[in-house]
């Protein structure tokens, strides 16, 4: 049986690149992600540098099949985020290689956050009006999601500025 360890760690939604970097550092140290879900990461032992790991927000199951066709393994996912690993010996492994597709990705995250934010806002207002006790919690969630939306918007604006000059 391979050695295993589980780490609990939270990343902000706009920090997905930092999360990916951390997972690749773990893989460099000989720990490859084997399972994940909300706030937990289970790693198993691997050869240091054996794998490259990538993550993306893409709910399409057709997409998952497409990436697998390219020799990658689907590790798991959490609220529309999918995690893949591929052997480093197969060459460089990336999910988004141009500005346009990175912008599309950010728009997808934006859409999901907007929906969640709106739902929390509506729940928060109705709960508060009905004097329910958890109304403020929904409003707090909505406020935090708005902040996340602002961060994603900032990332998009920076990319769009770059896109106006080159691909």
């Amino acid at each position: 049986m391979r050695e295993k360890k589980t780490v609990f760690k939270l990343f902000f939604v706009w920090d997905f690149e930092k999360e990916e970097r951390w997972l690749n550092e773990m893989a460099q140290e000989g720990w490859i992600l084997d399972n994940t879900g909300f706030s937990f990461y289970t790693f198993v032992r691997c050869e240091p540098g054996e794998y490259i790991i990538r993550l993306e927000m893409n709910p399409s199951s057709d997409y998952r099949a497409f990436v697998k066709e390219l020799g990658a393994e689907y590790i798991g996912g959490c609220v529309n985020w999918v995690y893949f690993r591929r052997k480093a010996e197969l060459g460089s492994f990336e999910l988004l290689s141009d500005i346009d597709s990175r912008l599309t990705h950010l728009s997808r995250i934006n859409r999901m956050l907007s929906l969640l934010c709106l739902a929390n806002l509506i729940l928060g207002i109705t709960n508060s009006l009905n004097q329910a006790r958890c109304g403020w919690l929904n409003l707090l969630c909505a406020a935090m999601l708005s902040y996340a939306l602002g961060r994603i918007h900032g990332m998009k604006a920076a990319l769009e500025k770059e896109r106006s000059l080159h691909e």
Binding site: A65, E69, S92, D100
Partner: protein
């Protein structure tokens, strides 16, 4: 026809699909044609294939039995788009060359 420049990724995907090809084949051909300069990542390629199918510039081929890999090919409209883009690129090159040559004198 819309007079819009294609992105480098789109241009190479369309070129690669002059003959039927699956995802991995498109990546390899693009890398080979561009001398290793243009690398198509999985998600970028997937997104582009989906939108190019919607536009009708390429089409998925009926899956052969026993093969899981989906193949795509250029449509007649896709060939037109490529020809249009080639003419645009030729003009870009010609303009660049003529002006930079003058500068060199």
């Amino acid at each position: 026809m819309e007079n819009l420049a294609l992105t480098e990724s789109t241009y190479y995907i369309l070129l690669s699909l002059y003959h039927p090809q699956h995802g991995y084949g498109i990546m390899q051909q693009t890398e080979q044609l561009s001398g290793g300069r243009v690398h198509l990542a999985a998600g970028t390629l997937y997104g582009a294939l989906t939108s190019l199918c919607e536009k009708g510039w390429i089409r998925p081929l009926p899956a052969e039995s026993g093969s899981r890999k989906k193949e795509y090919q250029l449509t007649a409209e896709g060939v037109q788009v490529l020809k249009h883009e080639l003419a645009r690129l030729q003009q870009l090159v010609a303009n660049g060359e003529s002006i930079l040559k003058e500068e060199a004198l």
